[in-house]
Subunit: 143 residues, 2 copies
Amino acid sequence: MSPSDDNLPSYRLDPQVGFLLRRANQRHLALFARGIPDLTSTQFAALAKLCELGQATQNALGRATAMDAATIKGVIDRLRKRDLVDAAPDPEDQRRRTLTPTAEGRALYARLVPAAHEITAATLEPLDEDERATFLRLLEKLT
Amino acid sequence: MSPSDDNLPSYRLDPQVGFLLRRANQRHLALFARGIPDLTSTQFAALAKLCELGQATQNALGRATAMDAATIKGVIDRLRKRDLVDAAPDPEDQRRRTLTPTAEGRALYARLVPAAHEITAATLEPLDEDERATFLRLLEKLT
DNA sequence: CAAAATCCGTTTGTATACTAACAATAATCC
DNA sequence: GGATTATTGTTAGTATACAAACGGATTTTG
């Protein structure tokens, strides 16, 4: 043992993946809130995926957007309150609620898509073309 | 205009950076909760940084751990309730509270450091050595 | 077919995370 | 030195996020 070999734990917070992921996410969320003040990023994700799919049950939409049942419920409640999403009982399965974007929801989504693309670009702005592709490829593996 | 050139917005949620960042963060948080059930990742970050620094005022610790004043307050409240952190008034500035890790806090931190390293490794496990370095380098730029 | 297991949506509780506003204190400026 | 400005910590309000438990509906299984 060297004289400096004490039992102080060798750990620094700053370079840890978890800390960096959290901060990168924070930065992205700030850019999102600035670019799309109308909706939170989660609400936009739910609306976007629902417009992609045309319709979905509540829990299925949650799975498609990586939100658990309790989370997607709150998100959908808020979107419904603003008449962006409609919920109808499923005649074939009485447990299910079939969600559909309203005309207003689809219109808002269509209107916001350009801003959403700009937010993605702004988030990746510190990287050059090659780095972006690399980063997205690797990030996808950590999902 | 080609016949297929309609006004449907071209947007897919799945490949967007924001969506991937959120999911990567979720995966990391799940690994963290499994590896360190004692503390949340945020609480551990605050405790770790405080042990690194020795002491800090509340808002300064928040800045060092990327938490705003309202967030760090709740985190510190919970750590204090568990006697992991001590808060003393600063005689030089009566607005400030000087935070210090308790002996128990330092012991817990020292005990958890190996698990924290394992969580970092588990989070990055899908990447090989080169990819990890690349990913961390690029992620740091998006902070 | 009946029992068990699963799935659906809901509710409660806890923990981030940010905005906004606030009182108390410090620092700065004219 | 007095007014303005900034900082510190607090509070209230909103929005994810997840765990755990629940009743009801459906599916699987024995």
